[in-house]
């Protein structure tokens, strides 16, 4: 049993974590909450070091220093557009650390109680799943690999097979106490993580990250049993529970049941049947669009990830300012999942100094959308796809969208006719109300800005 002062320090840290999560749920206290969490973490780590580092003190300090040297620059330099994959990576290394902790403890104490063994196999298994799953989500979001769902031949059978093998391995580790089997279990966990995330489609990847985040929390909680450490149990469980709720909230924001996202990989055949090669697309020049905008009364900008990638937020804000000087009302329609993650677009636009009160949510925009003269869709696609509303066969059916096809005119700024992140065709592109403006979002916005000033 640890001395009382250590227990008290852990209790204080656990309280900090609860309050940190509480703070992070309300805009006003979010930043303070995060700092409080960091303070609690510092307290816990220093306590563990002073009390627990009997051997290898210097090596531990060096490993921490190396971690700081890698983690801080990575977190500081990452572009705001790349935040989701960064979070995925940090989550993955956390899962790997949990698995390593349990593995090491198992080597140090090979003949623990059954509960200890069970907690060990759980930590190793969940930690490994979380690590490899997070790496795959990173590869998907970074677009190093395809963002489309990857369906292996007999993928489901393979997944079930690996899952069954994992359970068997876990049981035999508990029975035999063999370290080798535990390593095999870790490998099975890694395979399972990959199999779990591969079929998840691009737009749903953030939800997978959130779920893996909850997984890592559970792995940490299980490792708390391994080490009989209450702080690990409390903190890990907090993250596991809040992560599960958050995953559900995110899935609700996208209007899709969780099971669909994880197991109902998009069936491309259904969407392909709708494709009609002979539909026409109307493409306009910058001047056409400038006139359209210049004589509008109200304009709605629907930004998407393409805007952020092109770093066009500032150009968009300038364009909005010029339009407002002409007495035109400009709002931004922010879809809950615009960008790569719920709330991601708000972060990106805040970075570009877009006034907060111009940002409107779905429910604020849709009822009055019929009176909007021009909708400017910049680098977004799936969030304005009428298929999500009208075609039950569409893979994104059920996701709430901006009903921009009900506005008077739509200008679609896009690099090409390529489908969006979810890989789904968009009938809005072929709508007679729609004018396409091809090109890089920032480039087009800058030209448009110049052209509107001429009108």
């Amino acid at each position: 049993m640890s001395p009382t002062w250590v227990q008290l320090a852990y209790l204080a840290a656990a309280l900090c974590f609860v309050l940190a999560l509480k703070g992070l749920s309300t805009p006003k206290y979010a930043r303070a909450g995060n700092l409080l969490g960091a303070a609690g973490m510092a307290l816990a780590v220093v306590t563990a070091y002073v009390h627990g580092a009997v051997h290898n003190e210097l090596l531990i300090l060096l490993a921490v220093a190396a971690g700081v040297a890698v983690g801080i620059p990575a977190a500081r330099s990452v572009k705001m557009t790349a935040i989701p994959q960064m979070v995925a990576l940090f989550n993955g290394v956390g899962g790997a650390a949990a698995a390593l902790v349990a593995l090491t403890e198992f080597l140090e104490v090979p003949d623990g109680s059954v509960l200890f063994q069970v907690a060990t196999v759980l930590t190793v298994l969940i930690g490994s799943v979380s690590f490899s799953g997070s790496v795959v989500t990173f590869l998907k979001l970074q677009e190093i690999m395809t963002t489309r769902p990857v369906l292996l031949p007999a993928g489901q059978a393979v997944s079930i097979g690996v899952a069954a093998a994992s359970v068997l391995l876990a049981l035999s580790v508990v029975v035999s106490g063999s370290g080798l089997l535990l390593v095999l279990l870790a490998l099975a966990g890694l395979a399972l993580g990959v199999l779990f995330v591969l079929p998840v489609g691009g737009a749903d990847v953030p939800i997978a990250i959130s779920l893996l985040n909850a997984f890592t929390g559970l792995a940490v909680a299980a490792s708390g049993y391994v080490l009989a450490n209450t702080l690990l149990i409390v903190a890990g469980t907090l993250v596991g529970a809040s992560g599960t709720i958050l995953t559900r909230l995110m899935a609700q924001a996208m209007g899709r049941p969780l099971t669909n996202i994880l197991f109902g990989a998009f069936k491309p055949t259904a969407a392909a049947a709708q494709t009609d090669e002979h539909r026409t697309v109307r493409s306009g020049t910058v001047e056409d669009v400038a006139i359209l905008l210049g004589y509008a009364h109200s304009v709605l900008v629907v930004p998407g990830y393409g805007l952020a990638v092109a770093q066009g937020q500032h150009a968009a804000r300038e364009l909005a300012a010029v339009l407002e000087q002409r007495g035109i009302t400009v709002h931004y329609g922010i879809h809950p999942v615009a960008g790569r993650m719920p709330g991601h677009m708000n972060v990106l636009l805040a970075e570009a100094d877009v006034p907060y009160e111009q940002l409107k949510e779905l429910d604020d925009v849709n009822p009055g959308i019929g009176s909007v003269d021009v909708v400017l869709v910049v680098g977004a696609n799936d969030v304005v796809n009428p298929g999500a509303r009208d075609e039950p066969s569409s893979p994104i059916y059920g996701m709430p969208i901006f009903d921009v096809d009900r506005a008077k005119a739509v200008v679609f700024m896009k690099r090409s006719m390529r489908p969006g992140f979810a890989g789904v065709d968009n009938s809005l592109l072929y709508n007679p109300k729609t004018t396409m403006l091809f090109g890089d979002a920032k480039d087009s916005l800058t030209k448009l800005l110049a052209a509107v000033k001429q009108v």
Binding site: L24, S25, P27, A30, R31, N34, G37, M41, A44, V45, Y49, G52, H55, N56, I60, A63, G67, V70, G71, A75, M80, P84, V87, F90, G94, A96, A97, L100, L103, T104, L107, G217, V220, A221, V226, L227, A228, N229, T230, L231, I233, A235, T237, L238, V239, G240, A241, G243, I245, L246, M250, A253, M341, P342, G343, V347, A350, D353, P355, E361
Partner: protein, 110 residues
Amino acid sequence: MIDLLTIFVLAVFVGFEVVSKVSTILHTPLMSGANAIHGVILVGAILITGRAEHALEIALGLAAVFLATVNVVGGFVVTDRMLEMFKGHKPVKAAKAVEAQGNGHKETGK
């Protein structure tokens, strides 16, 4: 051991309760913040490395310390960067909200 189970069950409820109502704006920072908190595995990594005596255990333990540190510092720093961006706009927003009153602007939780 039943003590640990009690703690676990209570923590589950606290976790559910704490984040039951979150506006979508905060989903990303909240996930990132929770992500940093599970970096608390660093405590476990330090404890096991602190009592490891064999080379293999020390090596594995140090790897865990390194990875957990990346998780902790990266997680908190990235979350802070996200939240920093919201913060800068509060005064502007407060001033403009007064001007904008009457145009049906709805306070959406920020």
